[in-house]
């Protein structure tokens, strides 16, 4: 059972974000972390490997600095990593990302491709679908639970209020939801052994990808303007003496606005 987990480096979400003059996120100003949603996919891969054997490979497309977060995934227990990095990738959109990741995936033996449900910076959750299409393999998103048998996998797919069982042949692309498991922290031993694990670097040339097909030029969408949201100003403040007074104030307010 060979599993590839797609992991993205994202800016720390608790930090304040700014857009540069080109309307792209000013990433340099922010500390980077493993996309929090991807930690659940990594944990799920490690558990499947522990139960079924095989190899867990982490695949990251991102700048050279992504090596820090790659080490963290190796410290959690991934066996090795593939890091696609190339200056021409700056500004790559969804279509380019899917093209690059799927080309790399074709060179890494896999029975299963796991992803997070979305990245905290793009928040689109569209890469899993793009990969499934490019690789010509089935897609199951929002997995809360995965059960393997020989040729197929049973997924509990989150739906409002519960889950639906979905059975699909392998290989497949599956996105794992937040809360599906509890991602482990790297142990000291894990951190030490991560230093010796292999990180394979690949450029666009290594993947035979035309640089003109990715980056800002290859993008199928272009951002032409950006606006910060207007801060909402605060309204009325009430400091009622009694709960009954509070109830009247709120009820009056709701009634005036036709909510009751």
């Amino acid at each position: 059972m060979n599993i590839v987990v797609c992991v993205k480096q994202v800016p720390d979400t608790t930090a304040r974000k700014e857009l540069g003059p080109d309307f792209r996120l000013n990433r340099a100003a922010l500390e980077s972390v493993v996309n929090p949603f991807d930690e659940y996919a990594i944990e799920e891969a490690l558990r499947l490997k522990e139960a079924n054997g095989g190899e867990v490979v982490v695949l990251v497309m991102g700048p050279p600095s992504a090596e820090d977060i790659i080490r963290k995934t190796l410290a959690m227990g991934a066996d090795r990593a593939v890091h696609v990095t190339d200056p021409a990738l700056a500004g790559t959109d969804w279509s380019g990302t899917c093209a690059v990741l799927s080309t790399a995936l074709r060179r890494i033996p896999h029975d299963l491709v796991l992803t997070g449900t979305e990245s905290t910076d793009a928040r689109s959750g569209l890469v899993p679908g793009g990969l499934s299409e490019a690789l010509g393999i089935p897609l199951v998103t929002y997995a809360v639970k995965l059960e393997l048998d020989a040729e197929s996998i049973k997924v509990h797919r989150q739906v409002p209020g519960g889950y639906q069982e979905v059975q699909t042949p392998l290989p497949a692309v599956v996105s794992v939801v937040k809360g599906a498991n509890e991602p482990r922290y790297p142990s000291l031993k894990g951190i030490m052994s991560a230093k010796r694990k292999e990180i394979q670097k690949l450029t666009l040339a290594d993947l035979d990808i035309d640089p003109a097909s990715v980056g800002l030029h290859g993008a199928r969408t272009v951002v032409t303007a950006s606006q910060a949201r207007a801060e909402k100003s605060s309204g009325e403040v009430a400091r009622p003496e009694t709960p009954e007074e509070a109830a009247v104030i709120i009820a009056d307010f709701l009634q005036a606005r036709k909510y009751i």
Partner: protein
């Protein structure tokens, strides 16, 4: 390329979801601008029954296939058929709701036909030869204007609640599609659905939400919120602190790692208003907060800020509203 706009309709019990009416509304505006038609697509058993309601919101033609395959398998048959329709009709844009199924089908479709794909869309503005999509990013802190380039087709994932459904009656003609699914689309097979809660909560669709946070101190006080919500026709939401404590299931969580909601009324009870919570609810039309801390950050974006003890105020408010409705 035509000036037609295609809309993918999600169904619930044979009727279009509210989000489908939102899509129809914006599609009707776009199509009117370019002199095109609104073509809606509904797939699955009894799909044709959606025509009346869709027509009322501006749909010119409803394309349907009632083949059971659309309920038996995930994604693959839907993409297969939609890709054929995109080729046949050459629309200017295809609109989906930014939901779980919408994302999956839209991404696969855009990848297959080489379309430009934009998600988180909160507005669509027609220009002479193209459509500007306004995309909400970083939890609504920025809105960017996005244009499709290097592609003939634009596929747009529209945020639930970004548009208010508006009637513009047409009599939507139903065309039943001649579709015979091949074996290659029979891959991800759906099995039984297990509901873990009594009923499915759909916060995104609620127009009134009453949310509770750590201030509630335990699972039982959520009953107070349920009583209030029942009185004003609302759904119950929660902060992550309340969800992480196990007081209420994750499906109720509002915020960065939960749901993004845009109700007309949002009541925050015992919630401090951390930025990760605010990004999920700050675009509500009206915000009312109850908190005993006069400096709670939630008050900065509240239309009405009430300083006091939630355990006393919420029951008193429920009683007061009951009294007024009875009067």
């Amino acid at each position: 390329m035509s000036s037609d706009i295609m809309v993918y309709v999600e169904l619930e019990n044979g009727q279009p979801k509210r989000t489908a009416l939102e899509l129809a509304t914006v599609a009707a505006d776009l199509a009117a601008h370019g002199g095109g038609k609104v073509l809606a697509i509904a797939l699955g058993p009894n799909a044709a029954g959606a025509a009346d309601r869709l027509g009322r919101y501006g749909v010119d033609q409803l394309l349907v296939s009632e083949d059971p395959i659309f309920e038996e398998f995930l994604v693959d048959p839907h993409v297969d058929l939609l890709a054929r329709l995109a080729q046949e009709f050459e629309p200017q844009a295809v609109l989906f709701s930014d939901s779980a199924d919408g994302r999956d089908i839209a991404a696969r479709l855009a990848a297959r036909v080489g379309a430009g794909l934009v998600s988180g869309v909160v507005d669509l503005v027609a220009h002479g030869d193209h459509v500007d999509a306004h995309e909400s990013i970083f939890g609504g802190n920025f809105v960017t204007t996005v244009e499709v380039q290097n592609a003939r087709l634009g596929v747009f994932l529209v945020r639930p609640n970004a548009f208010t459904p508006k009637e513009s009656p047409k009599s939507a003609a139903v065309r039943t599609l001649d579709y015979t699914p091949g074996d290659d689309v029979k891959r991800a097979r759906r099995g039984r659905t297990v509901l873990e809660e009594g009923e499915a909560t759909s916060l995104e669709e609620a127009s009134v939400i009453v949310s509770g946070g750590r201030g509630l101190g335990g699972p039982e006080p959520f009953a107070l919120l349920e009583q209030l919500a029942a009185e004003i026709g609302g759904a119950v939401g929660a902060s992550r602190a309340a969800v992480d404590a196990g007081w209420i299931p994750y499906a109720h969580q509002v915020g960065q790692t939960g749901r993004t909601v845009k109700p007309s009324l949002y009541m925050a009870v015992g919630i401090s208003g951390a930025v990760q919570h605010r990004v999920g609810m700050q675009t509500a039309d009206t915000i009312v907060a109850i908190n005993r801390d006069p400096d709670a950050p939630i008050f900065q974006l509240s239309d009405l800020a009430v300083v006091g003890d939630l355990f006393k105020i919420v029951p008193a408010l429920t009683a007061e509203i009951k009294r007024r409705k009875g009067a």
